[in-house]
């Protein structure tokens, strides 16, 4: 049986699995203090424990245990206070007042104040970690020791602003440590000091990082555990062996080979959960280089979508743990996603007809040839490339498939635009602007900058729509604009998710409170406990 979030929640055979999860039968159990937990994720060791400009998933995982944000977005997509107790928007939405939590101290004993937030916003978030999303921010002022006002040069939607505060780039850093020198190269980034539930103890490169309980954490009794280890295995089979030999308690983001998950769960010693990734859902994408003929024609792009069997990708590459993509705002996004968008069912005959109608008839060497690039940062992309190649060849298109490594893929897609069709990936937060929208607009085109508009597509209508989505402050109207954005994107097809794939957390069945947030891997894990 395929193990998706839906099947986990609905399937009777998965009842035993669900019984081990927080929020269900065990929700009423009283948390136990103490214990040591060893965690990992389905990737590699970070380059530094905290990489101020971001640095990818691995440093995000390690930095969010000692460092905190102002807000968090829970699994039901409600805002939860962390270092901010409340956030108030001005009537014109051109400024926001943030009331900070009192009595919070940094790990070195200094008090957390408004100055830290002002410094973080202006010296760290705007220039380094958040970037274009804070273009409209003009000033951040400390009104008193625990109140901060953010000022913008245009109206900023409340969800957008809160998303920045709760987002990957919104970690609050201590001013007294970072105000001298360069934030990016500060040696403290490898021994981070924050306000979070976990204090850095030791990093053994190539092996693990050890965090110990922050006894002065602002939330009473938390964290529940005494020690937290984040350990790395480069090889998924080794992670599987570690789980089975009790060397590992918890793994995020697909830690073990997909075909092995069912076997682990059936043993009753482990649970698997696809929740906790709502604000970091992943997809495999297809991107057409609209600078080149015939991909500059919308009908050709639509025809090629009909030639690709996306369900086959789900079934064979992701072992049925996913679904064909429809909308760049993914289905995990319950606020802004709509399924009411054009759909491209697998229909090679229709694809051939559309190509014929577009004047691309079959010649002696087929219709035309395609330079298909599958980005080599995920092993799955190469397999998807083979399925796409097969689909296109079945409608008489000659395909040259290449699967270059990560740096080469980045250069060819985003610097040289050296592709006709690219197979890539993105992870999407709930807020669609600018992470998703920038793939479709003219100001998203920036040669050499990764994960922006490399396809060259832009229309005045889409630019206008995204412009309105960026400043609309009425939540209902904004949701309608987001739906319209999804429809336009799926109609124009410059760049679309081919497949949305599930991310799984695997844990021993006595680990409690897993997957409690919408981007749980990047949360503090203060409430994690062991039922032993």
């Amino acid at each position: 049986m395929p193990l998706s979030r839906r099947s986990i929640l609905a399937g009777g055979s998965a009842a035993a699995l669900v019984a081990g999860l927080p929020g269900f039968a065990r929700a009423q159990a009283t948390p136990k203090r103490g214990g040591t937990l060893v965690a990992t994720w389905g990737g590699f060791e970070p380059q530094a424990l905290f990489v101020p400009p971001g640095g990818g998933t691995s440093p995000f995982f390690t930095s969010t245990k000692p460092l905190e944000r102002l807000l968090a977005l829970d699994q039901q997509l409600n805002w939860q206070p962390l270092l901010a107790e409340r956030v108030e928007a001005a009537g014109d939405f051109r400024s926001y007042t943030v009331h900070l939590r009192r009595g919070v101290t940094w790990h070195d004993g200094k008090n957390f104040t408004a100055d830290d937030v002002v410094f973080s916003a202006m010296q760290y978030w705007k220039p380094l970690s958040v970037g274009v999303a804070l273009n409209a921010l003009t000033a951040t002022k400390a009104l008193d020791s625990h109140t901060v006002r953010f000022e913008f040069d245009r109206p900023v939607p409340e969800f957008f602003f809160r998303s920045v505060l709760a987002g990957q780039g919104g970690l609050v850093i201590p001013k007294h440590i970072y105000e001298t020198g360069n934030i990016v190269t500060n040696p403290i980034n490898n021994t981070p000091i924050g306000t979070g539930p976990w204090k850095y103890k030791e990093w053994v490169r190539g092996s693990h990082v050890e965090y110990v309980r922050n006894d002065n954490y602002w939330m009473n009794n938390q964290p529940y555990l005494d020690r937290l280890f984040i350990r790395w295995w480069r090889d998924p089979a080794s992670r599987l062996a570690a789980f089975e030999s009790n060397a590992l308690d918890l793994g995020c983001f697909n830690p073990v080979p997909m075909p092995e998950v069912d076997r682990l769960v059936r043993s009753n010693r482990f649970v698997a959960d696809s929740k906790g990734y709502e604000s970091s859902a992943w997809c495999s994408t297809i991107e057409f280089n609209t600078r080149k003929a015939p991909f500059d024609k919308r009908v050709v792009r639509q025809a090629l979508m009909h030639a690709i069997d996306r369900q086959l990708v789900v079934d064979t590459v992701f072992f049925k743990r996913g679904r064909p993509g429809l909308n760049p705002i993914l289905s995990a996004n319950k606020l802004f996603h709509t399924a009411d968008v054009p759909k491209y069912d697998f229909n090679p005959a229709k694809a051939a007809q559309m190509l014929d109608a577009a004047g691309l008839r079959k010649g002696r060497n087929g219709r035309f040839s395609v330079n298909l690039l599958a980005a080599g940062w995920f092993e799955e992309n190469g397999k998807i490339g083979q399925i796409v190649q097969q689909g296109l060849e079945d409608v008489d298109i000659t395909v040259n498939l290449s699967v270059p490594d990560r740096p080469t893929s980045l250069k060819r897609i985003y610097t040289d635009y050296d592709y006709d069709i690219a197979l890539s990936n993105y992870t999407a937060p709930i807020e669609a602007v600018p992470v998703i929208s920038q793939y479709y607009v003219s100001d998203g085109i920036a040669k050499g900058v990764a994960f922006r508009n490399a396809n060259g597509f832009h229309t005045p209508a889409m630019d206008d729509l995204v412009g309105r989505l960026t400043v609309e402050t009425d939540p209902v109207k904004r949701t309608a604009l987001a739906h319209e954005f999804g429809r336009q994107a799926a109609t124009e097809v410059p760049f679309l998710p081919l497949v949305e794939f599930d991310s799984l957390t695997v844990a021993r069945s006595d680990v409690r409170n897993i997957s409690t947030g919408s981007n749980w891997m990047g949360e503090g894990w203060a409430d994690l406990w062991l039922d032993r």
């Binding site: 380059q47 274009v132 190539g206 480069r234 060397a247 270059p404 490594d405 980045l410 050499g448």
Partner: protein, 323 residues
């Protein structure tokens, strides 16, 4: 002997220079750059910031100038700074080198002990069941990829039998261990990775040793030794083994570099905190300073080991000294 040592050390200098130049140019020729990876990982969305980073990392300078600067800094034992790890390259290497050396030495020790022993036994018991069995095992371990062997050993000894840990170099959750306990803990963790890496080389040594022993055992001086009434094993070990060891010593020197390469794979399977993971990450992120640093460092180690091998020749074979 000193003259040989001096000559070999001097010959190593242009060799290392060649390693630096060749690797520097090869890395520069590879498509994509450290900056591409860094900007992608960090979602750098501002082209101006990208340009600023290019200047910060010296990537706006011509390649020949970067190369000259690098050679000059290596001459002063400065391997540069890794912006990815946010620390000096030498510190990155030194943090991982001990683990790799421990793994390499342990696996070579296993390879030598098992390989030489198996080769000698197979030669002495030639064309018997022992010879056939040892030859079969040698072919098996020679043909088995080390990552596959590593996973099989893990499944059997760590997961099924629970005799050894599944990975890492030490028990991470144990604290305040004494020296003896720490050493035992490391040995406990070392067993599987050293076997996975060492068994391949043991197979090579066994085949070479068997052939060398068969050749030596058929020579006149062995017959003379037997005629003088020496015991069988004394003839084999005191006269045959010493003369058959020369090809093994040659192989040892040649294979030191390849063991380093093999350790990258084994370290990945066993989560061994050595240079392997550092190299993999650095190559895939085009982290040139670290890649170059590791290559220069390993070149130096290989050159030094080969000099030691040359010196060992002198000790083992007086005829070479006479020449």
């Amino acid at each position: 002997m000193l003259r040989l040592l001096r000559r070999r050390l001097l010959q190593g200098v242009p060799l290392i220079l060649g390693v630096i130049i060749m690797n520097f140019l090869l890395i520069q020729a590879a498509p994509g750059s450290f900056l591409d990876v860094m900007s992608a990982e960090s979602q750098v969305s501002d082209p101006a910031m990208l340009e600023q980073l290019r200047v910060t990392y010296g990537m706006d300078q011509p390649v020949w100038l970067q190369l000259l600067k690098y050679i000059w800094s290596v001459a002063r034992l400065d391997f540069g700074f890794s912006y990815r790890q946010n620390m000096p390259v030498l510190a990155v290497i030194m943090a991982s080198l001990p683990a790799t050396l421990v793994l390499m030495l342990a696996s070579l020790l296993i390879a030598l002990l098992l390989g030489v022993t198996a080769g000698v036994v197979a030669a002495v018991k030639v064309n018997t069941i022992w010879d056939n069995l040892l030859s079969f095992l040698a072919v098996l371990f020679f043909a088995a990829p080390s990552f596959w062997l590593g996973i099989m050993l893990t499944v059997l000894f760590a997961v099924k039998l629970g005799w050894v840990p599944v990975g890492g170099m030490m028990s991470i959750t144990a604290s305040n261990q004494g020296v003896v306990a720490t050493v035992l803990d490391v040995l406990h963790h070392l067993a599987l990775p050293a076997m996975a890496l060492g068994l391949f080389y043991a197979a090579v040594y066994a085949r070479v040793m068997r052939a060398a022993m068969l050749e030596v055992l058929s020579l006149d001086f062995i017959r003379t030794a037997r005629a003088k009434g020496l015991g069988r094993w004394r003839v084999v070990l005191a006269h045959g083994l010493r003369n058959a060891l020369l090809p093994i010593v040659t192989l040892f020197g040649l294979q030191f570099g390849t063991v380093l390469g093999g350790s990258i794979v084994v370290e990945t399977v066993f989560s061994w905190p050595g240079l392997g993971s550092v190299m993999l990450d650095s190559v895939s992120s085009r982290n040139y300073p670290v890649v170059l640093g590791v290559l220069v460092f390993s070149s130096v180690v290989v050159i030094l080991v080969n000099i030691a091998v040359d010196l060992a020749y002198l000790r083992l074979d007086p005829r070479i000294r006479a020449r």
